[in-house]
């Protein structure tokens, strides 16, 4: 399969054209956020506040990179386990988030919310930290600096290799993988 090249922010019709199993090369801006950042964003929303990110314009990547060596934009930067963000995800989708990137399957609630909002969830290959770092052109911490590796990093990526795991219709790649969780 020849991977399809797409660019953030993803327009609705691009999102709707993606199918579970499609291989993608993503370019543009993505923001990292993992456990601690999700907790904070979720709490902000729960208190009725606004969050300091434009969720509609961005893709959230569940990742906590290693620090950059001098002269390099970033260190190893593979995905972390998405299911740990499941409890916070429906609220973020409700607030306009449309693109998520991580590894592994999602809860039934998240799957339903993905279908409801017609958004997309991509997976990157776990443990591909060194290789994925070569696809990142720049990195900057933009929020929650005090969280260290869990801070929100703004990454500019070029041809970042992903697979569509859950598409806007709710189709799930793990349903098609030929094995079932018991």
């Amino acid at each position: 399969m020849i991977p399809k090249k797409i660019h953030t922010p993803l327009a609705d019709d691009v999102i709707r054209s993606l199918r579970a199993g499609d291989e993608i090369l993503l370019s543009g801006v993505i923001l990292t956020a993992r456990d601690a950042a999700h907790r904070r964003l979720f709490d902000m929303l729960k208190r009725g506040g606004r969050i300091p990110l434009d969720l509609r314009e961005t893709a959230i990547y569940y990742a906590g990179p290693t620090p950059a060596r001098p002269g390099r934009p970033i260190g190893a930067c593979g995905p972390t386990t998405s299911s740990r963000m499941d409890a916070f995800t429906p609220a973020l989708l409700e607030s306009g988030l449309a693109v998520m990137i991580g590894k592994g399957d999602r809860s039934p609630e998240v799957r339903r919310a993905i279908k409801k909002h017609a958004v997309v969830y991509f997976v990157a290959t776990g443990g591909l930290g060194a290789l994925l770092s070569t696809k990142v052109k720049s990195s900057k911490v933009i929020l929650f600096k005090e969280l260290g590796p869990e801070a929100v990093h703004r990454l500019e990526v070029k041809d970042f290799p992903l697979t569509v795991a859950i598409d806007s219709k709710g189709n799930d790649i793990y349903d098609k993988a030929g094995w079932k969780k018991q």
Binding site: G104, G127, P149, Q182
Partner: protein, 280 residues
């Protein structure tokens, strides 16, 4: 008595942390290559190829194999004829970890406690496992452990009359429940016997044994091979997207146990199962 300066230990721990995080173990790399030859699906092959390329890049460019550079587990086999000089051994080990994670640009993934969760910013304290052995040498082995797979590990206290089938079903279930989250193809460390915590420690220690080497006890070696075949027949595959390679290796360690018990611990480890060792 042979004296060993703790400064030597500090230096060894530092170098081993770096080596383990940048250079994928030869046995694991070999197992990935073997798996590539066995896979039929394009997706599974593609993933395995990218993992092998990732290992090459990590070593060449000194970038961590995986961004989860782990909690540093430091195994010390200390000969009883050794006397340490030069100050605290515990501090030397932690200083070695701290230096490596700073100089190697490795991720600091340790929080000071489970409730407040403030990052210690040094990746310390390390998990230190000591064992007193005969002789006058010190063997140091560092195994950085990522938590995507650690979170999927389990322990169960079986009845002493449990059948081998029940044990195998439990281990298979751990792998199924881990699914994609633990980054298959996995290496399974299995600890059998002892007490509750012994089984867990053995499970982690089993991960240090090269993949492809079997337990010297014939019945345990047979169990390792059966589990390897049965789990790979599940079809979970690389990244749980289907394929013939769900585990790269199954390593069992055992210890005598009580008449009333049969503890079984499974320490799940990802395709980036890392460790490095040195004897002083």
């Amino acid at each position: 008595m042979r004296t060993v300066d703790t400064a030597k230990v500090r230096k060894a721990v530092e170098e081993l942390c770096l080596k383990a995080n940048f250079e994928l173990r030869k046995d694991v790399l070999r197992a990935l290559r073997t798996a590539l030859g066995r896979e039929k699906s394009a997706r599974a092959k593609g993933i395995l190829r990218s993992l092998i390329e990732n290992a090459r890049l990590a070593k060449a460019k000194r970038i961590a194999i995986c961004q989860d550079t782990g909690m540093a587990v430091v195994w010390m086999e200390i000969g009883q004829g050794v006397r340490f000089t030069g100050g605290s051994l515990r501090r030397a080990i932690n200083d070695g970890v701290k230096a490596a994670y700073k100089k190697g640009y490795l991720r600091k993934s340790v929080v000071g406690d489970c409730i407040i969760r403030r990052n210690t910013r040094t990746n310390t304290p390390a998990i230190i496992m000591t064992e007193i052995v005969d002789g006058d040498r010190v063997k140091i082995e560092v195994s950085p452990k990522g938590f995507g797979s650690e979170n999927k590990s389990r322990i169960k206290m079986f009845k002493p009359t449990a059948s081998l089938r029940e044990i195998k079903d439990f281990i298979r279930d751990v792998v199924m429940q881990a699914g994609p989250d633990a980054c298959p193809p996995l290496v399974l460390g299995i600890g059998v016997g002892g007490t509750f915590e012994t089984a867990a420690v053995l499970a982690k220690k089993a991960l240090l044994r090269p993949v492809g080497k079997h337990n010297l006890n014939k019945s345990l070696a047979a169990l390792e091979k059966e589990l390897f075949d049965e789990i790979n027949a599940l079809g979970i595959g690389p990244m749980a997207l289907g394929g013939r390679t769900t585990v790269l290796g199954v390593n069992i360690l055992d210890y005598p146990t009580h008449i009333a018990g049969f503890p079984v611990a499974v320490n799940v480890s990802c395709h980036a199962t890392r460790s490095a060792s040195r004897t002083i």
